[in-house]
């Protein structure tokens, strides 16, 4: 048994191959980690750029919204509507011409509620953890959090 072991140890090419294999293994490991980092960094950058573009779009949309609201308000302004009504032959009713009806359930005109309830909610943090945590954070989460 001892004789066999010595023979193997004495094969220098085998020893060199083992060392080379170890070095290659380390290099491959480092390259994999680097590639992973690069991939995550690239994806984070792309999302970041997308967010920057969306921010710009939001600003532009808000401005457009404001312009449209103003334009709509101009078209519906009192003098505009009064002018169009008069042109169409409408006039304010006199007291004698008014007819009052009971409308069941109608409690009179209430003040406006400007809150828009469109049934959607905006998630505050749109980025998943993958874009914000480091590799060590991720490993920690996998180990401690049971691999969510």
């Amino acid at each position: 048994m001892i004789t066999f072991s010595r023979r193997i140890q004495q094969a220098s090419w085998r020893t060199r191959r083992q060392r080379l294999g170890t070095i290659l293994l380390v290099i491959v490991g480092v390259v994999m980690v680097a590639a992973l980092y690069l991939d995550v960094a690239a994806r984070t950058t792309l999302v970041g750029r997308e967010i920057q573009n969306l921010e710009r779009e939001t600003v532009a949309t808000k401005a457009e919204n404001a312009n449209l609201k103003t334009e709509l308000a101009r078209l519906l302004s009192y003098h505009e509507i009064a002018g169009r009504s008069e042109a169409l032959g409408f006039r304010r009713a006199t007291a004698d011409e008014l007819v009052y009806l009971t409308v069941p359930g109608y409690v009179g005109q209430e003040a406006v509620n400007l809150v828009i309830d469109n049934g959607t909610s905006v998630q505050e943090n749109v980025l998943t953890d993958a874009y914000t945590q480091s590799l060590f954070d991720w490993v920690g989460n996998q180990v401690l959090g049971g691999g969510r």
Binding site: L46, Q52, A63, E64, A66, A73, R74, L76, H79
Partner: protein, 589 residues
């Protein structure tokens, strides 16, 4: 064989070692380079930039959701100095389109320091005008078929930066209430000034990183708060039309009309003349001599005259000094403090009850009642009614008026008598509204206000009304309410609105001259009234300054009140009394 090819490995190893070494050498060289500060500056500049983010100013709506003040895109036009090819042409073009002086524009581009890279030429250019200039620029660039030649048409270097600015789609409607925002985004007058901090939001200086990985560091700057007012646009516009017509018809110098809900203090309309077109607020100096003229309803105290008698009568009834049936013999004059008080017509009206005193608006009667009540009680009630103090209405610049009381150096015994019929005391129309709300609202006085609610983060917060005290008892208020309704009918007033039982009182006040005397030729004509008497839902105050068609409020302010009441009942859907009572009894169809 292996040794034969070993040199290849050596070459590759040397190559890699050389590249690595070169990188290290370059890194070290950069660190010790004399240009390091320049490199660092370059890095810093490209990392990001500081920017002041101005949140969009909050909008203002009326109670039905009509936009009264919004925002719209405008443009700042400026030049990047090192990109300019033909400064004269830029100046000429802008001057032509914007109707400006060429030399001023040109000097802005030429009188610059060495460090300047950008010059702002003009701001707040409308989108339409900016588009015109952009088109000219695009046309020139399209025609260009080579490099710039000296003297050639060129708008190179001209840049357009868009930003939001205030817009007022209703122009003059409610201008006195809304106020305006100037080019430095500061609110002046009315709601714009009172709620400037809420509307404007908080400008924040933020670091904008160029690195997309740091995008989360950019803070979110919330827009200004949107406000919903108690105003009703339709009623406001109708009231303003009535006021403008009244000024023409009665030859008054100016005036104001307020419509308020006496149950909660919500101001439904507040018209004041003259009014500014908010889209052209530079006209301010042409329209107003003093700031207090901007909104007479709250800014301008005046001697209200006989409308004040309702407060004197309320105090007298509440203190038990008189009852509605108390008999009084009017002799037409009353001597007090070395002076003689006369009735408006210098006549004696004989035996009257308290309703008669109000119907015929007898100065002598009210002066006697005030004296009978006593100085302490009279002024105590007037203070309880809030006379001499601002109401706290949520508009900027409210005046307080003046109530001289015993102990003041300028108070005399005669003041008790004259104050009882609204002379020698000053109050703003809004103060009179608040005081009289106690009579219409069963003894509880309400604080007049314009803010109905505000919207922030997609949530609307509505504000409850606020009581301003209880100066008189409920039964006193109900009694006086009836007396005033009867007085209006008894006087066969022009304020009567067919189908509705209303309560109200005229006020014709002489105007003090600079010498301290009173002029009978020029008066302030007022009317305060509310209805329907059995369930007051609106209260109207009319003030016409120096009407020339008649000096009497019964001929000028009273019919204006009837017009406003007519429109108000229509806009608020208040049926005539008989229909309302039928429905209340379940007899309506």
């Amino acid at each position: 064989m292996r040794r034969e090819y070993a040199w290849r490995s050596v070459v590759i190893a040397v190559l890699f070692a050389f590249v690595g070494l070169a990188i290290i050498v370059q890194m070290v060289r950069l660190q010790i380079s004399p240009d390091i500060s320049e490199f660092r500056g370059l890095v810093e500049r490209n990392k990001g930039w500081m920017e002041v983010v101005y949140p969009a100013r909050g909008e203002i709506y009326d109670r039905k959701g009509y936009l009264l003040a919004g925002n719209q895109t405008v443009f700042e036009l400026g030049v990047t100095l090192d990109q300019i090819e033909n400064a004269e042409y830029i100046a000429d073009t802008l001057a032509r389109v914007l109707d400006m002086d060429t030399s001023i524009l040109l000097s802005k581009m030429t009188d610059v320091s060495d460090e300047q890279v950008y010059v702002m030429l003009v701001d707040f250019v409308s989108g339409e005008t900016a588009e015109k200039i952009k088109k000219i620029k695009a046309d020139i660039e399209e025609k260009r078929d080579g490099p710039y030649l000296e003297g050639q048409e060129s708008l190179a270097g001209l840049h357009f930066r868009e930003h939001l600015s205030r817009s007022y789609p209703e122009k003059t409607i409610a201008a006195n209430v809304i106020g305006f925002v100037n080019q430095s985004e500061r609110g002046y007058f009315g709601i714009e000034e009172k709620y400037n901090d809420l509307l404007a939001g908080n400008p924040v200086e933020v670091w904008i990183p160029a690195d997309p990985n740091r995008v989360e560091e950019i803070p979110h700057v919330p827009d200004g708060t949107t406000l919903v007012l108690t105003l009703d646009r339709e009623l406001q516009a109708a009231t303003e039309n009535i006021l403008d017509d009244a000024l023409d018809t009665h030859g008054a110098q100016s005036g104001t009309i307020i419509v308020m809900d006496p149950r909660n203090g919500e101001i439904l309309a507040m018209a004041s003349a003259p009014r500014l077109d908010l889209t052209n607020y530079s006209d301010y100096d042409n329209l107003f001599d003093e700031a207090i003229e901007y909104n007479r309803a709250i800014n301008m105290p005046y001697e209200p005259g006989s409308v004040f008698k309702i407060l004197t009568m309320a105090a007298a009834l509440d203190s038990g000094t008189v009852t509605p049936d108390t008999a009084y013999t009017d002799t037409g004059f009353y001597e007090i403090g070395g002076a003689v008080i006369h009735n408006w017509d210098n006549e004696a009206w004989g035996v009257q009850d308290m309703t008669g005193c109000l119907t015929h608006s007898l100065n002598v009667c009210l002066a006697r009642i005030a004296v009978q009540m006593g100085t302490e009680d009279f002024y105590d009630y007037m203070v309880r009614f809030g006379i001499g103090h601002p109401t706290g209405v949520d508009l900027s610049g409210e005046a307080g008026g003046r109530l001289r009381v015993p102990g003041d150096s300028d108070w005399y015994t005669i003041d008790l008598a004259t104050n009882s019929f609204g002379q020698g005391v000053t109050a703003t129309p809004i103060q009179m509204m608040m005081a009289a709300s106690a009579i219409a609202n069963e003894g509880t006085m309400v604080t007049p206000h314009l803010l109905y609610g505000m919207v922030r983060d997609n949530k609307q917060y509505n504000f409850p009304s606020q009581d301003a005290g209880r100066p008189i008892r409920r039964d006193t208020a109900l009694t006086l309410n009836e007396m005033l309704a009867n007085a209006l009918l008894g006087a066969d007033s022009l304020a009567i609105l067919p189908g509705y039982r209303l309560a109200g009182k005229t006020g014709t006040a002489e105007i003090p001259t600079e010498s301290g005397d009173y002029s009978s030729a020029a008066t302030n004509a007022s009317f305060i009234g509310w209805g329907p008497v059995d369930d007051p839902q609106f209260m109207v105050y009319v003030w016409l300054e120096k009407p020339s068609s008649s000096i009497w409020a019964s001929q000028t302010a009273a019919p204006v009140f009837a017009q406003v009441a007519d429109v108000t009942t229509q806009v608020l859907n208040i049926p005539p009394d008989i229909i309302r009572q039928q429905y209340a009894l379940g007899l309506g169809q």
